[in-house]
């Protein structure tokens, strides 16, 4: 059951990603990207990452894509002008580069992680069942990764200030 659902969701995600990079209108592209992100959230649920799935829907499919659509609306890019695809030569280069990269990545997949790094089967699900899905992530986040977490807040502040300075007409 889980495997069938996995293939359905991943099939829809890949097809909508393909539509996202081929649609002419930026609005259509953005909406297909939202579809891809939602289906990725479903894949996270199937991979036992429930908290990450919720954050994916809230932050990616919600906040970030609203920001994209808002900018498209602000710049009035919705109408379909002449296509912005590259010419025949550019398409050939993009296709060949894509297939070469895909082959390389699928070859990397054969290199399994070394056995001594691998946890015993079911350890992650067991931790999530024992402590709850959120606590299981919060514990490493606020213990081992506390300093990166705090630095993240400084980075977000810098991003806010930078975005305001860049987008402002006159300072």
């Amino acid at each position: 059951m889980r495997t069938i659902l996995f293939w359905i969701f991943s099939g829809v995600a890949v097809v909508s990603a393909l539509l996202c990079i081929t649609r002419r209108s930026p609005v259509a592209s953005a909406l297909w990207l939202v579809t891809t992100l939602f289906h990725l959230a479903a894949l996270y649920v199937l991979l036992d990452a429930h908290f990450i799935a919720a954050v994916q829907v809230l932050v990616y499919a919600g906040a970030i894509m609203v920001l994209f659509l808002f900018v498209i609306m602000l710049l009035n890019l919705g109408r379909t002008g002449p296509g912005d695809m590259k010419g025949a030569w550019g398409r050939v280069v993009a296709g060949v580069a894509g297939f070469v990269l895909l082959g390389e990545l699928l070859a990397f997949r054969l290199a399994a992680p070394p056995g001594r790094l691998r946890l015993p089967a079911g350890a992650v699900e067991h931790a999530a069942e024992e402590q709850g899905a959120v606590t299981a992530i919060a514990r490493p986040l606020f213990e081992a990764y506390l300093v990166p977490f705090e630095i993240t807040s400084v980075m977000l502040l810098a991003a806010i200030v930078g975005a305001v300075v860049l987008a402002k007409r006159k300072l």
């Binding site: 889980r2 996995f6 293939w7 991943s10 995600a13 890949v14 990603a17 996202c20 990079i21 930026p26 592209s29 953005a30 990207l33 891809t36 992100l37 894949l43 996270y44 991979l47 990452a49 908290f51 990450i52 954050v55 994916q56 932050v59 990616y60 970030i64 920001l67 994209f68 900018v71 710049l75 890019l77 912005d84 695809m85 590259k86 550019g90 993009a94 580069a97 894509g98 297939f99 895909l102 990545l105 699928l106 990397f108 997949r109 691998r118 946890l119 350890a123 992650v124 299981a136 490493p140 081992a144 990764y145 993240t152 980075m155 977000l156 810098a158 991003a159 975005a163 860049l166 987008a167």
Partner: protein
């Protein structure tokens, strides 16, 4: 275990993102393709965290934070660019072309 299939899907999504960046000339669509690549990497992290421990999901959390900051700054740059050049077509934004 869904580890192998998840890594394959992630590889396909990442390659589609790269193809999109190489194929399009609209700056905002190229930016969306970059987001697609970030998401493919997140899928890899989540898939491997099933076997290698929950630290992978913490990393996904950080990647999402960086992506949110990057989207805010990048879209501000795009707005400034559109204001100066009245276009988002990267063919016409070629000050750095050799």
């Amino acid at each position: 275990m869904l580890l192998g299939p998840a890594l394959a899907v992630s590889a396909i999504l990442f390659s589609l993102g790269v193809v999109g960046v190489l194929l399009r000339r609209n700056a905002i669509i190229i930016f969306m393709c970059v987001e697609l690549m970030l998401n493919a990497v997140n899928l890899t992290f989540v898939a491997l965290s099933q076997q290698l421990g929950l630290d992978g999901q913490v990393f996904v959390f950080f990647v999402m934070t960086v992506a949110a900051a990057e989207a805010a700054v990048g879209l501000a740059i795009i707005i400034a660019l559109y204001r100066h050049r009245d276009t988002l077509n990267l063919q016409h934004i070629n000050l750095l072309r050799g």
